[in-house]
Each structure stands twice: as C-alpha cells, then as structure tokens.
Amino acid sequence: MKRARIAYRGAVVWAQLNESGTALRLPSGEVVSPEEVQWLAPVTPGATIFALGLNYADHRKELGFYSQDPPLIFLKGPNSLVGHLGETIRPADAHQMHPECELVAIVGKPARRIQAEDALDYVGGYTIACDYAIREYLENYFRPNLAVKNRDATTPLGPWVVDATDIVDPQRLSILTTVSGQMVQEGSTADMILDIAHLIAYLSETMTLLPGDMILTGTPQGLHFCAVGDEVVCEIEGIGRLVNRLVAETKT
C-alpha cells in the first residue's frame, strides 16, 4: 500500500493511493485526484531524520575517500524537508549544488539493540529523498555541516510511503536521478556499504529508534551540478518518482 501525506482543503492528512496511483482515498472515505492535493513530505512530526554519507562504494571513491572509517552519520531537522513537486532554492553562489537520490527506510516500531538479522522487521515503509548538497558551503567541522545539509526545503521527500511488506528486497532496487531529462545517477541499492539491516543494528546500539524515524541510506555515484530551472527527478524501483524544481532566491 502507498500512503501519502497531503494537504487538502485546509487539513493535513494521510491518504491512501489506489493501485494505479490515479486517486487518493482520504480518511473520511472521500476519493480525490492527485491534481487536487498538495504533496507534503511524508514524515511523522517529531521524527528523527538520520542520513548517511559515503555509503555507496562508487560514490565514496568518486569523492576521494578510501578509508574504512566508522559509518558517517548526520542528522537533519524537519525544516530541511519539502514534498513532491516542491521547489528548492538554489542560492546564487551555489555553483556546486548536486542532487543525491536516496532510499529512505522508515522505522515501524521501537527498536533498541536489534540484531541485523531481525532488523528489517522494524522497517514500516520506504520512501525517496533527494538530499541536495552544496559543496561550496562545506566546512571541516562536523562535516557535512548543517549549512550544507540542513537548509530549509533542500531535502525533497516522497512522493509517498510504500509499505515495507510490498518491497521484496530493499537491497536490490535500481536508483536513478535525472536532471532536466539527463541521467546523472544510476545505481543499485545493492551497492550500499552498510545495508539497511546493518544501519538499524548500528543505530539501535546506542539509540532507541522510534516509529516514524527515518534513515536516508546514502547515494550512489554521479556528481552533477544543477542550475536554476532544472527539474530534478529521483526514482527508485518499486517506490516511485520524486520530482523537484530548483528556483532562484527571491531578492529582498
């Protein structure tokens, strides 16, 4: 089942998509068309948002990192999210702003000290993130620093959540990004260094993962710097297509 968090006539609700994705059933039972709704980031308010850096072997090599350091994990705030068909600001000086398509695992029940072999039982669903980075803003303190990875609305998320039970093997999904029609990332979730099960085991060693918490599992290679006006599409097999558009800053 696919569930979307939408705004419709002044209310924010979770709606259920039909098989073909052409209609949304609201909690009231009313059925509406996707054109009538605003897609919001499918996040549970208060959720912790974990993100992985350098979690695909090819991307790690591309950026010049070879060591087998501990997993590079950072956190994001809810301000960073924006829904499907939303807009992200590309600052005028952000010449090295690039999209990163990522599979997102959403925690379905409390998880603490979970072994990897049991960990996928704790995933409730999956969605897609486009975790933009702006390389000019990188500083070598708590890198990637918040000015790179936690800017408002720089992490498109969605379009919806697919139930975990509908994804047979989350480590065997094709993952790709196009920028204004040009393919810039093409990989497979099979190439993750720490797979979802091991990420849950690792994180839950020190923290209780709570329902709704999200893990952005990293991105494959393909570094493409974007321009204002670009339409960026992140697509993961079995989940969907997440569309975002880059816009200029409004001069104030």
């Binding site: 208060g46 912790t48 974990f50 350091d69 501990p70 590079l72 994990i73 950072f74 956190l75 994001k76 705030g77 809810p78 301000n79 960073s80 603490r112 000290r113 500083e139 070598n140 303190y141 708590f142 890198r143 990637p144 620093n145 918040l146 000015a147 936690n150 800017r151 408002d152 020190t206 923290m207 209780t208 993962l209 709570l210 918490d213 104030t252």
Partner: protein
Amino acid sequence: MAAAFIEPPYKQPPNKPVLYIKPRACLMGDSAIIPIPPDLEQIEVAATLGLLIGRDAHRIPQDSALAYICGICLALDASEPCDSFYRPPVRQRCRDGFLRLGRLAPFNAKVMNNPIETFADDRKVHSWSTERLLRDAATLIADISVFMTLAAGDLLLVGLAYDAPRSRPGCRIIARCGNLPGLSVSLQVESVA
C-alpha cells in the same frame, strides 16, 4: 586548540557556527538519570543553557533576535569524550538519555550573565560564563537563521565548554545558573537487557 584548527582535517577555523542536532531519543528514560554505557569509564557532562524558540525565526537580524526566544532552561549535555570535531558526533553525543533539561523559565537575557556551575557529588567542578561564547544568543540566532529556520518549540543550546568536566558512574551532577530552576541527575551504568 587554535593551532590544531589550521591543520588537517580542519585546514582553517570554522566560519559558521559549529552545530549538531540531538534527536528525541536523547530525552528518553528517567529524566533524573543519565545512563552510561557499560564500556565507558567516564563521560563528559557539559552544563549549558537551552533557549526555547517561541516563534519561527528565519533570516532574523541580530538586533531583533532575542524577541524570538520565549524560554530558558539549564541543560546537561552528555557525551562520550572525543577529541575530533571533524565528523558529526552522532555516536558520541546522541545516545538514549544523553540530554537532560531543567524546568523552563520565561526568557530573561539577564539570567545569562550568571556563571553556569557544575557540581559533582556536591563539589564544584566547573564554572563558565556566557562571556566565553564566540556568539552571544542574538548573534547565534542571526547566524543560524540565515540558512535554516529555527522553529517554535526548537531548543537551542548556546554552546558547550571544551573544558567541561568528566565524571564516573555513580556520581550525582548538579547544574546551576543564577535563579534558574536547578538540574540534578545521577550517572548510572546503563542496564543492558
């Protein structure tokens, strides 16, 4: 430490505030206890002040920034001692129970002029003043809100002293600052089920 910050991996001192996010799991558990992992001999417990944001702050100039703060409290930020500032300190600083908060008081900038004191088993082990901050509260809000919205309900810790004291399990830690409600926690070895 200044000399280290021009060497790799840092290469140059930071320009922007050095920030990290504590997830909600850090507030879990008995609020009077900080659970210590069994393999750690001691942990660092940094007393600081938490500023509660009262309304969404986006690109707020310094001269109006204090109006966006509605509350203040003492905070004890626990971490596994770590000398590196290179990678986000999630493993070291984001464990269950690694943030403890005192009762909220209405925001009053003057309270920030008092020393922030830490007592371990009734002995004063640390004292620092917000005069040590590179950015005061208003400058922090201005410099952070320029790239991200600080939302109503967010709690901003004003800074952590690099010389914060380290303590062992069994120790009782008390934080005080002027007439703010005090904060008292005990460090206890985490029970691993």
